[in-house]
Amino acid sequence: MATQREILKRIKSVKNTQKITKTMEMVSTAKMKKMQDRIIMSKPYGEKLETIIDHLRQTGVEDVYDPLMQERPDPNRILILMITGNRGLCGGFNTRVIDNTINFKKKLTIEEGKEVLIYSMGKKGTNYFRFIKEPVYKSVLNPEDKFKFDDASRLGDELINLFVTGEVDEVYVSYTKIMTRSTQKATITRLLPLKPESVAIQESVEEFHVEYIFEPNPYKIFSSLLPLYIKMKLYLAVLESGFSENFARRVAMKNATDAAKEMVRDLTITYNRARQAKITKEISEIVGGAAALE
């Protein structure tokens, strides 16, 4: 059995770890809250954009030729934007996104013989690709809470440019989507070419009897709306990933704190036992000594 001193040392170190994990938990909670607020503040904008797009579609812009919506007949080069975190200690958050991306990539390259480029945002994803010695097309850090719409806008322009110039035929985003407030899921969605989402249209059919005046014309508005819509999607994807990362870290840190607490409890019991054993031993030695004198 370990000596008392050794056990005490361990208790101390576990307690220190517990303090750290507890603090990290609180930090993540605060960051998560901030991200959530930003998402909530951006939601109305995204929704409004979607309704305007719906309205435009309703007026018959649907069959307009817009390069951003044009499906390529034989997509060959595909870009995947992978959004991971910069740091670990957040449970399976990064691994889930990476796994998801790799599986998707395998499916495209092996089964369909396509060329896949990876655009990695976040240190963790980049490091993983370096580890398995696979080249990435480009890698940037995850800007985390410094992420502004301007950054999303720049990123959007870059992706749109790649797509329009024919450098790539399709663009996907692999990120962590918020399903409900407490569940997130690593998902891959196609960003370009844009797919018309018809769900929203049916819901609000009765609204469409309103005849809108369009300035300049619906087509022009439509083609300048789409890039904005894409940027908004990117912006939200990064924010949602940020939220999910902090959520995952919070959960991981909470588990670690609980585990540390449990460990301290067990160790304290062991310590007390060792102490008691020592006392008992000493008493029996004294008693034994006294008995020997008589």
């Binding site: 309103v210 005849e211 005046i213 300049p216 508005i221 709306l225 904005l228």
Partner: protein, 133 residues
């Protein structure tokens, strides 16, 4: 019932204004566009310039750069790509930025020159609004 428009100004990051206004002027892509009560439903693209929202005696000013405006059933929604309220702008800061850019050597390529020109124009538009009384 007062003849007021429900107006909200949104940017991708947050909502910067919400309230009732008598008269709204926005910078559309080709000039200013005014809205009064009972305006016909309209969607338009925005340019770079100012937004004026008048309610009663007070007028609020915003700088706007790109985006869209929609009006329907007397609710006016401005979806700006970028928008700043007049209170949040400091004329001195913008002036020094303009000077900074103007002091730069002329770039070689046409596109670079163009982008600097656009940048300057935007800053000047900002300055104009920031200096309003």
């Amino acid at each position: 019932m007062a003849m007021k428009l429900n107006c909200s100004v949104l940017t991708p990051e947050r909502q910067i204004y919400e309230g009732q206004v008598d008269f709204a002027v926005v910078q559309a892509y080709d000039g200013e566009m005014g809205f009064l009560y009972n305006h016909a439903p309209l969607i338009s693209e925005l340019g770079t310039g100012e937004i004026r929202l008048r309610s009663g005696d007070s007028t609020e000013y915003f700088y706007v750069d790109g985006g869209f405006v929609e009006i329907k059933n007397n609710s006016l929604i401005i979806l700006a790509q970028e928008a700043v309220s007049k209170q949040d702008m400091r004329p001195e800061e913008i002036e020094s930025k303009i000077k900074e850019i103007a002091a730069l050597p002329k770039p070689e390529t046409f596109t670079d020159r163009l982008s600097i020109d656009i940048e300057l124009k935007k800053l000047k538009a900002r300055l104009k609004i920031a200096k309003k009384q």
